[in-house]
Amino acid sequence: MEHLETFTEETRAWLEENCPAGMRRPMRREEDAVWGGRNYKFHGEDQRLWLERMAGRGWTVPTWAKEYGGGGLTPEEAKILKRELKRIGARPALVSFGIWMLGPALLKYGSETHKKEHLPRIARGEIRWCQGYSEPNAGSDLASLQTKAEDKGDHFLINGQKVWTSYADKSDWIFCLVRTDPKAPKHEGISFLLFDMASKGVSTKPIRLISGSSPFCETFFDDVKVPKENLVGELNKGWAIAKYLLTHEREMIGASGIERLPGSDLGATAAEVIGTKSGTLRNHLLRADIVRHEMDWAAFLLTLERARDEAKAGAGTGAVSSMLKYIGTELNKERAELLMAINGLQGLLWENEEDPEPPLSRQWLRSKGNSIEGGTSEIQLDIIAKRVLRLPQGN
């Protein structure tokens, strides 16, 4: 325990010294997030400094081994670091699909060469990654993907199209599911490839969402050559990696919903906007919906906490992630609806020059996608019914 106390003190001191003041304010705009990558432009010196310092200690990925650019921290140490960061309200030094998604997959399935090549550059924010999973007409039936990779001796030749590729237009590399055996059953002919988005034949087209933003792209592959050594895991066994990542993604979406919308406490937000009388909100009927939601939200947060604690204690199953994804996203949508109700016509502005944050209307519209992306709510419920509840398959 003494070691952990020392670690706490040292961490606190280091953060005090090294976290720039500008990095201790809540993130409000899209540009407050530092994504890194070859062409990334920092919004201010504080962002650059903070990333440089954190990456220097390996603290962008605190639990990864030092040889892969990580901090080599134990889970206990990482927890302390997280707590200390939260204590001073520090922004993340780097947000990255490389950290959240590809990293864990490479650590589990990648060769030593892959790890050495890619992980340190992810940790330092040098390469920005995107994910090539969904395809047009596949929708929830992800495994029906058609993008093909033909074996051409020393390389694969990729042709096809992905859709819903997050920030493909801003990314340097892609981790991508491709069909390497078109004759095999649909889950058994898929492989997991990594390649450079600057390769000849790759093009992207942003998709404008109903919220007005364009975080996703259509991505086209036209005779793209990918060296064979960029295959992760075994040929035709990519579906296992995909499933691992999907589970991971579900947990992330379920959990990250928490911080997605403003007003961490809807009741307090409503009390501020609408006002109270004798200790209760002036709008009694809206209060009824808010308290119902807030209780569910509290129950959800406790369930996240329990899932984490159980996982630590060695329980934890992949199917729980379906439940968290389902509840978290449905609640997030409900939360957005209630925020809209609290804010009335003010929330329906499409542009609002007086407020640096994006208008609520756009956040509300964006929230509608929560229960679609990363596996729809319907798919999550199917998974729970089949894998957890063991209900019989339909015909």
Partner: protein, 379 residues
């Protein structure tokens, strides 16, 4: 009063359907939005609507209108809800025409109603002053001065406010904010000194304006109806507006639902049409039931307002609250069932959820009307 649509009204609906499909489909709204149009509606289209008689649908014949009644106006709104057609129909042909008819001075009627019926004037109602609908909470002050009044204060989210020729302004001439007595209505030209308009861009791409009144002088004969007694006629006119908005929302819900059904029948996943999945079938069947319930409520409300029944105000709140629930469900389910494509701007369904939300909020949201419903019922 049978709860059925008369033949005469069926004809009106058919004509509207044909006209709107040709001249004002959803793509027209998209074009309007993407062209950053200064009006937020297409004046040429509005002229064509006027030629169909729509602008004068509530205007008495002696002032050049059709006097077709509220049921007809509601049916037009329902069809416009299906195509999301933007025009000053609601602000001018419904709200302003109703208020002028109810409490306008003869001179005001004579001057303005024929202009409205001819599509030559846009008249906006400047009512609320905050983020939520609250007719009793009006603070904008009209103080007597000479033979007239001086107005000071602010109005928010005034429908078609930035392009109106005239505004009907609800002002406080007596009583305290939060009370029903002491409200009065004034009819004011928008070029009068001291008025400042600020256009706000809303999520549904329609027009609203915030208006500042700084020492705005009006004559005594700009008063509409009786001094201090505007609350009741205002509520009556608002109920007409709420019923018509509910009808619009019924149209929006129906159209979003029908488009979704079409998608469910055609879109395949896992080798079968997704509409064969029992879960989506049940949710669609539930939504169908909800829309049918809303349809009954809207029709009853329109018929009741047309007959000037005493129960109209409770029905108007029922309609508006129920419409908010149903159109919210219909448009959310539309996006969810369309999946990713429903989230793209390229696809039209997003326009429906945007307009649905603004219409739900206008002149009282679900909570406002549920509360009013319960209060009228005594609990």
């Amino acid at each position: 009063m049978a709860l059925v649509i008369s033949q005469e009204h069926d004809l009106l609906r058919d004509a509207a359907k044909g006209f709107l499909a040709e001249h004002a489909p959803v793509s027209a709204l998209r074009t309007l939005r993407d062209s950053d149009d200064p009006f937020g509606y297409d004046p040429a289209l509005w002229q064509r609507m006027t030629e169909m008689g729509w602008a004068g649908i509530l205007v008495p014949e002696k002032y050049g209108g059709l006097d077709f009644g509220i049921v007809g106006a509601g049916l037009l709104m329902e069809e416009m809800g299906r195509t999301l057609s933007a025009s000053p129909f609601f602000s001018t042909a419904i709200m302003a025409a109703t208020l002028l008819k109810e409490v306008g001075r003869e001179a005001q009627k004579k001057r303005l109603l024929p202009q409205i019926a001819a599509g030559k004037a846009v008249v906006a109602l400047a009512l609320d002053e905050g983020r939520s609908h609250d007719p009793g909470g009006i603070k904008l002050a009209a103080k007597p001065s000479g033979n007239g009044f001086v107005l000071n204060g602010e109005k928010t989210f005034v429908l078609d406010g930035h392009l109106a020729d005239q505004v009907i302004v609800a002002a406080r001439t007596g009583g305290k904010a939060g009370t029903k007595s002491g409200l009065s209505l004034f009819l004011i030209e928008t070029d009068r000194a001291g008025l400042e308009f600020r256009r706000r861009t809303m999520v549904d791409s329609r027009n609203v304006a915030d208006i500042t009144f700084a020492e705005v002088k009006v004559d005594g004969d700009q008063l509409m109806g009786k001094l201090d007694e505007a609350y009741e006629p205002l509520e009556k006119a608002l109920d007409v507006g709420r019923a018509c908005l509910s009808s619009e929302m019924l149209g929006t819900a129906s159209e979003a639902f029908e488009r979704t059904l079409e998608y469910l029948r055609e879109r395949k996943q896992f080798g079968v049409p997704i509409g064969s999945f029992q879960v989506l079938q049940h949710r669609a069947a539930h939504l169908f039931s909800e829309i049918e319930m809303l349809r009954s409520v809207v029709l009853k409300t329109l018929l009741s307002l047309q007959a000037s029944d005493a129960s109209s105000s409770f029905l108007a709140s029922l309609a508006k609250a129920k419409a908010a629930q149903v159109v919210g469900l219909a448009t959310s389910e539309a996006i969810q069932m369309h999946g990713g494509i429903g989230m793209t701007d390229e696809f039209d369904i997003g326009f429906f959820i945007k307009r649905a939300k603004v219409a739900s909020e206008t002149y009282g949201d679900y909570y406002f009307h549920a509360d009013r419903f319960a209060r009228i019922k005594g609990y």
